[in-house]
Amino acid sequence: MSQFITGNGWLQLALYMVVLLACVVPLGGYMAKVFQGEKTFMSPALGWLEKGIYAICGIDREKDMSWQDYAIATLVFSALSFVVLYLILVFQNLLPLNPQKLPGLTPDLSFNTAVSFVTNTNWQSYVGEAVMSYFSQMVGLTVQNFVTPAVGLAVMIALIRGLSRKSAAGIGNFWVDMVRANLYVLLPLALVLAVILGSQGVIQNFGTYVTAHGLQGADQTLAMGPVASQEAIKMLGTNGGGFFNTNSAHPFENPTPFTNFLEVLAILLIPAACCHTFGVMVKDKRQGFAVLAAMTVIFIPLLLLCVSAEQAGNPHLNHLGVDQVASAVQSGGNMEGKETRFGITNSALWASATTAASNGSVNSMHDSFTPMGGFVPLILMKFGEVIYGGAGSGLYGMLIFVIIAVFIAGLMVGRTPEYLGKKIQAFEIKMASVAMLAPCVFVLIGTAIAVMMKDGQAGIYNPGAQGFTEVLYAFTSATNNNGSAFAGLSANTPFYNTALGLCMLFGRFFIIIPVLAIAGSLAAKKTVPVSAGTLPTHTTLFVAVLVGVILIVGVLTYAPTLALGPVVEHFNMIKG
């Protein structure tokens, strides 16, 4: 298939991977310093702010929390965030910064949106520019775009501490981890990115919508808003909720190939760097690189499949005198739902990166991808968002798979499984199984219920197998906290708003709580010294086992649904 990828396509993909991987060590090392409480070059600028927050909030930064206290803090903070955001959305008509006089959101849409942004999913059942006031976007959604990846990073750090501490009662302080993630990691990166994006044409204003008097005489409404500040953190925090309905396909969110490069880089930047943070904090950098290698080994072939399938184009159009062949003067390929400036390569790269991470933003419409092109984002989400994954959530999800892989390898050689000197026992495996299997259950049962019910069928847009894929994609995206969509599905109905809202909640917290339980259990254990019987977990062999476990779990669980959806659709397409 890869004969379809153009020379420039290879170059752009290679450039992306090189720049991404080059950022892993510097950023990952910096984040390790931040979460170990060390001074960094940002401390003089932000230290006073951090101390002030602790003083006002009564946070004792020296106080360690048990995993139960850490989990309660996570849940209470998330619940409070939900309540605040829900109220902002329902009552936005009474709040300032609403020049378009938009009404409050309906209760079911407010529930769905609040859950969506509090779980770092950022699924959008609404058309941003027609529904959300600037206050809701800025004070409601932007804030969650910061704090939810910060919560993800905090949980990840707690798990890493569980692995690196010996006979310890605590796994760190949630408030300190969450505040430091916001202040030292997300805020500086977001501010820099927002200013660069703004200089290239991403808008940032509070004006009323502009009416333009077009050349052909028709009036055109131009939606406005404080976009750049939200866009930056939307990309960096694996959020993905667009200011506008069409997300980063909209020229005011993503005006040029250069902004596109920065934005798609920002999707995987923090998730990839987390691997090195992990390596530094467990004092064995090879462990971090092994995990990074496993992610990359799965990502690259799927990326190439997506680019190839889209570049090959839609065979139905060939009979209509349409030229889909790539050349110096056109990108060719399947251009339905794609922007001219991004072409095939950048659209497919984005689709792959956004679903590998739990970002979920789009710069092209996935529903209009070829069946195999659309298969790639779907399967990447089904792997549980661990191929780089969300900020923090990607690595803690991946470490769950590592625990399962160590366990399976241990069974094969007949020894007690260990990871980084910690014995992996019944409690860890039970918790890891819950975290691994719960999302599968919600995706499959949710999809099954939706396609059997009238309310579920009513939302389907495209006919045939693709209609089934739209529903499957929605439940996969919601449960795995991705947020991208086969957007033909009409999801702004009480049925979908509620069902998908519940999937997002379960998908987030049925992983976070088991992960923290594992962290607490591991922290309390002694470290077993390395012996001849220890399975090394930084080798190519172990990376292969880990990749195998991820593929087997993902493919075995979802093969029937994938066969009914994109595979059937593919054969429908090639039969002509």
Partner: protein, 195 residues
């Protein structure tokens, strides 16, 4: 219960303080920097006529269907094409008969406006963009329309080509994205409203 209560103060405190910092200070500082340093971009890269009336934005496409203008991508935005108050893609799947109808409709419109043109039609000219607001087409799609525009305006092919060339951009930094032609800019040049 004790630990739940002791959680409330930091929970409420951080929620309030982080909301002020990240939802207030951060976007306002960004606005300040961009409004001072890059005002035109921050306001939407608007194009105005001599009287200061807004004609459009150089980043947002407009609907063109008259033969004398360069046509852009198909647009699936709500109520009317290129409605930048309700961006949307078509979301039509590759096998959806409605997609083929849309393509056939555009092919027919292009042929009707230029019956003698037998060249294959570049794919971006018969498909809807992701945003519904794509300001650009490929250089191939622009070249396909040169003869029609020249005939409709009664001007030479060369002046149309020159207007297109002036509004053509290569890949960013020579590598990123695709070469493209800004449709509204070309049409402003053709109308003599942009040099």
């Amino acid at each position: 219960m004790k630990s739940l209560l002791s959680t409330l103060r930091p929970a409420i405190g951080t929620t309030v303080l982080l909301t002020v910092l990240l939802g207030g200070v951060y976007p306002l500082v960004t606005t300040g920097i961009l409004q001072l340093g890059f005002k035109a971009q921050a306001q939407g890269s608007l194009i105005k006529d001599a009287d200061g009336k807004v004609i459009g934005s150089s980043l947002i496409g407009q609907n063109f269907d008259q033969p004398k203008y360069l046509w852009g991508r198909l647009s699936a935005t709500g109520t009317a094409p290129y409605n930048a108050g309700a961006s949307s893609g078509s979301n039509l799947g590759s096998n959806n008969p409605a997609l083929l109808d849309a393509v056939k409709g555009r092919v027919a419109a292009l042929k009707a406006a230029d019956p003698l043109n037998a060249k294959p039609i570049p794919v971006d000219l018969v498909t809807a963009s992701g945003s519904g607001l794509d300001p650009e087409v490929s250089p191939a799609a622009a070249a396909y329309q040169v003869n029609r525009i020249a005939q409709a305006r009664g001007i030479g092919v060369e002046s149309v080509k020159s207007a297109i060339a002036k509004s053509t951009r290569g890949r960013d930094l020579g590598v990123l994205g695709e070469a493209r032609v800004n449709v509204l800019e070309v049409n402003l040049r053709l109308d003599g409203k942009l040099k």
